[in-house]
């Protein structure tokens, strides 16, 4: 290396032609970020492309590159409408709709109710709030294990109610293949509604007190204040909550397995379990990757516009 004249001025003052030191200094941040970005490029974007590629092949137990065009998509499309007997994919989609719909609606309703109730200047909030939130610290496997026992008709709720004297009470959903998916939704709502409560509560506490005072002075009832002022102000939080919940619903996998006990007979099939069983146990990897691509596309359709608008808003 030839000796360069060291700049006497502070390094922050750049020489107009950019010395070696300056260029090195500009390079350091990029070098620090590069490994992480490379990991993400390879393991996220590269892998997603790889899965897309596999969805156009006829891979069985192992990946291969015999391309067969859109045949796998065609297959899933046909299965979408195969209701008698229902194809696994049809069951997965119906369950997704049931579970996803119930999960989002009940989490929102319960979360909003709890947040509004907690926001009434009540005593003991510091004790109550953590109780609604603690299920979030549990893994879905633990949650599923707990609810499987809790709802088990021979040991749990049904038996306890019988012991109380109401002997005709009947609640066997968790062992009834047709009703299992509702139990998954119950456990999911129990786990996540506290989180939605926290989102709404943070939003409620961000609302300017003056607006509420003005409404009070104008003689608005508490109901009208919430209905016409508070809830409309919180519209962005509803959107965030719905997006987060929808994305969690599509990704949920372990909860189904643990609540139902290994998803017997595919009764509680979801796209995530469909993907897993076709890929790793039924040796139809290409079909599995096709369903994974459909999941990815669905989540991308939800998340990309949302992330885009969130990132833009920040720099307004």
């Amino acid at each position: 290396m030839t000796t360069t004249v060291e700049p006497i001025v502070a390094p922050a003052v750049r020489s107009p032609h950019g010395g070696l030191r300056d260029r090195l200094r500009d390079l350091v941040p990029k070098l620090v970020l590069a490994p992480s970005f490379a990991l993400v490029l390879f393991f996220v974007y590269g892998f997603n492309l790889w899965t897309v590629l596999l969805s156009f092949t006829n891979s069985k137990a192992f990946p291969n590159l015999n391309f067969i065009g859109f045949a796998n998509y065609q297959k899933l499309w046909n299965w979408t409408f195969q209701t008698d007997p229902p194809s696994n994919w049809y069951t997965a989609l119906v369950n997704m709709g049931l579970f996803g719909g119930l999960y989002v609606v009940f989490c929102l309703a319960l979360g909003l109710t709890l947040a509004i109730l907690l926001d009434q200047k009540i005593r003991g909030e510091g004790i109550l709030r953590p109780i609604y939130l603690y299920p979030l610290a549990l893994s879905f496997i633990v949650t599923g294990t707990a609810w499987k026992l809790f709802l088990d008709p021979r040991l749990g709720l049904e038996k306890a109610v019988h012991d109380l004297g109401w002997s005709s009470f009947h609640f066997d959903w968790v062992v009834n293949p047709r009703m299992m998916i509702y139990c998954v939704a119950i456990a999911g709502v129990w786990q996540t509604s506290g989180f939605v409560m926290a989102m709404f509560l943070a939003a409620l506490r961000g609302i300017d007190g003056e607006i509420l005072k003005a409404a009070q002075i104008d003689g608005a009832s508490a109901y009208a204040t919430y209905r016409r002022i508070v809830i409309p102000i919180m519209r962005p939080v509803f959107l965030s909550a719905i997006i987060v919940l929808a994305h969690m619903a599509i990704k949920s996998y372990d909860l189904v397995l643990s609540v139902t006990g290994k998803n017997p007979g595919g009764a509680a099939e979801l796209p995530s379990t469909f993907m897993y069983s076709y890929t790793f146990t039924r040796s139809q990897m290409a079909v599995g990757s096709t369903s994974a691509v459909i999941m990815l596309m669905t989540i991308a359709a939800i998340m990309i516009p949302y992330l885009y608008s969130e990132l833009r808003e920040k720099h307004r």
């Binding site: 892998f47 610290a137 294990t145 026992l149 306890a160 509420l212 885009y308 969130e310 990132l311």
Partner: protein, 314 residues
């Protein structure tokens, strides 16, 4: 965001005026919901403290009649996971060995990334961040097959190394594999957390340090790190909870003896042989939940902040 509780009420507001009946209804509902949220955990704990015949013959809401800690000892030391009957203790340690390095590496990388993306911006920094952010939300099903292939290749390489130089250098080790997986798919979140935190950190301080001649790492160590304790706590807790609770990656990439805790619990509960020991299952479930529950009890405020930061970026 400051270090205060995100849910604390700082509004100057008239206390809500409600009639006594309304207040009673509000408290009644809140307590009722609290009971519903607590019930499954209470039943779990009580079941784990009963002998098996009391579980199958009694009522799950009754207090244990013959209080026993035997199910806990059995879950920890002797219950069968798959074919081996040595309890869940080994799997608990598997999870610890996986969680600690994965949390440390992903958090440190996230801190550096957040620092670069806010204080050393370059053209295209927004696109880079956007791409890393989307990585948080992909369904992991869409990376499972390529990941299995790559980890298989790393395993082969490890075996070749063992044959030639005698050690595998960690290639093919299931714990190392899981650390890699969790670091890679946790990077988006850790970067997001630190970026949003450093975004509000005064750039003037960084500029001043630059004029004083401090370099990239010096500024990070002397100016940003001393002020980063809250976000480090939030990120570590978030990553710890997520990685400890993961099931999909553990079940796919670490079979048998190498499984993490969640997978072992699933196998204990869903065993198809012998009598179902509900009390032991529940004890195992509580042991599996204990580390994250403990973190929640000790640092709930930071836990909630992490959740919120992972959901709303505004």
């Amino acid at each position: 965001m400051t270090a205060t509780d995100v849910l604390s009420d700082s509004r100057v507001r008239e206390p809500a005026r409600h009639s006594t009946t309304t207040r009673l209804v509000i408290y009644g509902l809140l307590v009722l919901f609290a009971l519903v949220y607590l019930l499954p955990l209470v039943v779990m704990v009580m079941t784990s403290l009963k002998p098996l015949d009391e579980v199958t013959g009694g009522n799950m809401f009754y207090w244990p009649h013959d209080l026993t800690f035997a199910p806990w000892a059995e879950a920890w030391g002797t219950t069968c996971v798959g074919l081996t009957c040595a309890g869940i203790k080994g799997y608990f340690w598997n999870s610890i060995k996986m969680v600690v390095p994965a949390v440390i590496i992903s958090t440190l990388l996230g801190a550096l990334n957040g620092y670069v993306l806010t204080k050393w911006r370059f053209p295209g920094h927004k696109l880079v961040f956007g791409m890393m952010l989307f990585a948080c939300f992909i369904p992991f099903q869409s990376v499972l097959i390529p990941m299995a292939t790559i980890l298989g290749k790393l395993g082969e390489f490890g075996r070749t190394l063992t044959d030639t130089i005698g050690v595998s250098l960690g290639f093919g080790n299931p714990t190392v594999n899981l650390v890699l997986v969790h670091v890679v798919y946790g990077l988006g979140f850790t970067t997001l957390f630190f970026r949003n935190y450093y975004e509000t950190f005064p750039t003037e301080l960084v500029k001043a340090a630059m004029i004083d001649g401090a370099g990239f790492f010096q500024i990070f160590r002397r100016v940003l790190l001393p002020n980063s304790a809250p976000i480090f706590i939030v990120t570590v807790i978030y990553q710890f909870t997520n990685i400890w609770n993961d099931f999909l990656f553990g079940a796919t990439f670490a079979a048998g003896e190498a499984s993490p805790m969640t997978v072992a619990l699933y196998n204990v509960v869903n065993t198809s042989t012998g009598v179902i020991e509900y009390n032991v299952n529940m004890a195992a479930a509580i042991i599996a939940a204990a580390p994250t529950l403990l973190v929640y009890l000790l640092a709930g405020r930071y836990f909630v902040r992490g959740l919120m930061a992972g959901a709303v970026k505004g």
